[in-house]
Structures are given as C-alpha cells and as structure tokens.
Amino acid sequence: MASSSSSGLTFKLHPLVIVNISDHYTRVKSQLNPPPLTSTSATVNGVENQQQAPRVYGCVIGVQRGRTVEIFNSFELLYDPSTHSLDRPFLKKKQELYKKVFPHFYILGWYSTGSDAQESDMHIHRALMDINESPLYVLLNPAINPAQKDLPVTIYESELHVIDGIPQLIFVRSSYTIETVEAERISVDHVAHLKPSDGGSAATQLAAHLTGIHSAIKMLNSRIRVLHHYLVGMQKGDIPCENSLLRQVSSLLRRLPAIESEKFQDDFLMEYNDTLLITYLAMFTNCSSTMNELVDKFNTAYDRHSRRGGRTAFI
C-alpha cells in the first residue's frame, strides 16, 4: 500500500531505537519458546510457535524541529488483542515519566515488528492520532535475510488518499537516515560486539576479532570489484566514458599505497619487536614459575626420608 511519502518531512532515526525494538522482540520470542526441557515437549512447542512470530508493540519518542523529525528513543507497550488497542493508561504513565527526564521529547508514533504493514495496524495508528496528529509507524522486519544489505526498518506515514471516491488513510513509506551521537555510537557498537560469556579463552576472542576484520575487508573487496568491473567495461567500450568518475577513481588510486614511508616501517617493526619481546618475557616468567613449583613438589615428595634436623632444600 505504500508509494512514496510526499509530506516533505525528513526523518532521522537513532540506532538506539532499532536496538530497543530488536531487543524487545528477541526477549518476547525467547520467552514464548523456552529452552526445551525434554525432547518431546520441544518438538510440540517448536512446531506450534514457529508459525506465529510474536508481534511486539511500543511507542517511539523524539523531537520535531520544523521539517526534521528526529526519533531518539522508544519504549514498550502492551497490546490488548481483544480490543485491538494499546494499553492507554500505561502509555500515559510512561509518557509522564519520560517527560520528566526528557522534557523536549514528544510521542512521535509507534513501532511494531512484522514483514509488512497490515490493515489492522491502521486501527492502532488512528488511535494514536489524538496524541500526535500525524504519527509515525516504525516497522522492523525480524526475518534475517542474508542477501539484504539495508536495515530491515521502514518508517510509514499516514496520508489521506482518495480511493474509489472515498478518502482513506493509507500508509506511505518514507525514507530516513540514521543519525547518532558519538556516545550512542560507542555503546551500540559495544552491544553489537558482545563476546560470549565465557570469552576468557584467547582463541575465541582472537577469532571474533579476526572475523570482524574479515567482514570489513570483504565489504571493501566487493566495492573495489565493482569499480574494477566498471573500468574494464569502460575500456572495452561497453560503457560510455564518464570523465568525472574517471577523475575521481584516479584520485582515489593515487592514495594507494596508503602507508609506505620508511618512518612507518621503522615504527611498525619496533612495535612488532616490542610485542614479541614482551610475549617472550611472559613465557619465560611462566616457565620459571612452573619450574619452581615442580622443584618444590619434588622436594616435598621425595626428600621425606632424608629430612632430619631441619636442613633446608638446596634450591
């Protein structure tokens, strides 16, 4: 039902909202599918619950300055399936609480999870229209799609369109940008890179770190490949020469090799040698302490019969 928004509002979404919604959904989903205690109960539960992914609902709050709408935060709401409406008294209470802490934030709309906006959502949308005359609907698609490159988050606005002679409210998709402050970026990054709880093992930490680097380089690789393909096509004549792009590519390539001065080699090798030296020293200390313990145990175990008169061991 979405075409494209014509209201001219620019939307800025903070990553905190996305993390909140996904966290809410994950919690509800894992609470509905508890870890199986016995294998038989698991199969029954698993088959049932896999068919309905739970939908979670909540409110998004933020600031609207002129034509820019910035969504900062979100909180959860209970959905009453019998009346198809959100829990209003709870909403009011939360609104007051948030007003005390963030006096500038208004309720901008609501969020939910699912793959597409549905007709029943319009009901909730209309209900919220008394708080905000044009609420937003933020939809998160929890299905993990490895081929998809963008975030599975869409923002819908409501517009009055005349369909078959009847003015109706329909959802229209709007574009948005992600906006973040440095503190938020650091914390979201930290949450995203949660190590496993028994991450004491050096190997798993190393593997996680290397995997992060691997995916970053893979992204760079794919982009370079696109450029390469484009230039080869241009050389063969399949694509008309576009000079401005060629100029940009040449200026980019001129930046390679990125670091190659003598000074860099010196510093790099020095730091490398320092690290190796420290590791060696640590190994040494470890070895000598183990050796010391071994000797102590040896003395205790085997000098039992020759120890009369308090002679101390020779080490």
């Binding site: 190997a203 370079i224 390469h228 401005s244 200026s251 390539l253 039992r304």
Partner: protein, 247 residues
C-alpha cells in the same frame, strides 16, 4: 567528490558554449574556461566536436592551450613558450595548480626543492603560501607541510584529466588492489582456523593431562592403603621440614 560536484555545472556550461560557437569565438570560451578559478577538468570540453575541429586551423593554438591545461604542466609551457600564446595571470595560476596535481600523481611526498623547481618559485615562504592558499583552500589537495624535512606529504589530490593510456594502468592498479585484498581475506581465514585448531589441541592436551593425574591419584591412594602401617615419625618430620621450606 565535492570538487567534481562543483565542477559539474561549470563543465556543462562551457560545453554548451563551446558547441555553439566556432573558430575564433571558441578561443575566448577556452580562455574563459582556463582562467575560471574552480574549473580543473577540461576533457569534456576537449571532446566537443567544434573544439576538435580547431586542429590544423590558424586557431589551433587555442586547442593546444586546452590540451596543455588538460594534460600538461608549467614546465611544458615554459619549454614550448614560443608556440603558445601568452597566458593571463589567472591561467598561470591554474596551470601551476594543475602542475601540483600532476606531481602528486607520482609521489605522495614531494620535496620542497622539486616543487620550487617545477613551479618557478624562489623561496620557501612563497611556495608555502601558494600551496596553502591556492591548493589547499581550493580543495584540490589535502596534506601536511613538513617544514623540518622540507617536504609536502599529500593525503588526497583531485584527479586530473586522463590521458588515453592511463585507463589501462588504473585497471592494473585496481586489479592489484583486488588481488591483495583477496589474499588478505584468505590469510585471515587461515589464521581464524589456526586459532580454532590450536585451542582444540590445547583443550585435548589439558584433558589428557587431567585424565593421567586422575589415574595416578587413584593408584597412589591404592598404594597408601597398603602403607598406612609405616612409622608416623617420618610423616611428622616431613611436615616440619615443609613448614621450614614455606617460611
């Protein structure tokens, strides 16, 4: 990036003007284009058919000037001074800026001496002023001036118009880059596998050692049951001697 966007409008403008005019009038268009402070790209204008027609006519000097601005440097101009018309100061400035861009193509670190020679500048102060005001503030170059070592470290330089042969070398560089990043990906994956296998081996080793310790413990406790009747004095003595050791 931004330079290209700034230039896009200007380029369209000049291309339109150039396609409309002919002959001597083109000369004035070219003059205007080459002295414009924010225009650094001339290959589009060179591609306009009316400009190409100038070749061989008495106005071919204008074509030569345009080609000089597209691919040449200040020293090219000085060596061919006779065959080219006199340049106005704006054009001289632009040509010098383009010279810096060309120099940036080959090296990332440009010594002051080389820059001074190429740009015909006598002292360091003038050179630095030129670099700062004309090149960095114009946004075509970004870098650091190292006065102690008398060099200019370039981090970013805008692209000049491409000579026909340069496309091949660019493709070569790109394929090298692709190759090295592929190798890097492969070696990272190997390292991850190595780390995992090492930790597996370590765990196995640990388990084996613990199993052996358990075995030995069991055999020792079996032996102890047999030797419990030995004189207790020796165990006393050993306890006192261990205390000495600990202290």
């Amino acid at each position: 990036m931004d330079i290209e966007q700034n230039q896009a409008e200007l380029i369209d403008n000049f291309v339109k003007q150039a396609s409309v005019q002919k002959g001597t009038a083109l000369g004035s268009v070219i003059l205007e284009a080459t002295s414009h402070p924010s225009l650094f790209a001339f290959s589009e204008i060179l591609a306009v058919p009316t400009v190409a027609e100038l070749e061989g006519t008495e106005n071919s000097v204008y074509l030569k000037v345009l080609q000089l601005f597209a691919h040449g440097t200040w020293s090219d101009y000085r060596s061919n001074c006779s065959s080219l018309p006199q340049l106005v100061p704006d054009q001289v400035l632009k040509l010098k800026q383009l010279t810096v861009l060309t120099l940036a193509e080959t090296n990332k670190v440009l010594p002051y001496d080389e820059l001074m020679m190429e740009l015909d500048v006598m002292n360091v102060r003038e050179l630095e002023d030129f670099l700062i005001n004309e090149c960095m503030y114009a946004g075509i170059v970004r870098g650091k001036l190292d006065q102690l070592r008398r060099c200019f470290e370039i981090q970013f330089a805008a692209g000049r118009d491409l000579r026909p042969g340069q496309l091949g070398s660019m493709i070569q560089t790109l394929s090298n880059w692709l190759g090295s990043s592929d190798n890097l990906l492969v070696s990272i994956q190997e390292k991850i596998k190595w780390a995992d296998t090492m930790s597996e081996l370590d765990k196995k080793h640990r388990k084996e050692v613990e199993a052996r310790v358990e075995e030995v413990k069991k055999s020792v406790s079996v032996k102890k049951l047999q030797t419990v009747s030995r004189p207790k004095l020796s165990s006393e003595g050993s306890r006192i001697s261990t205390l000495n050791l600990v202290e």
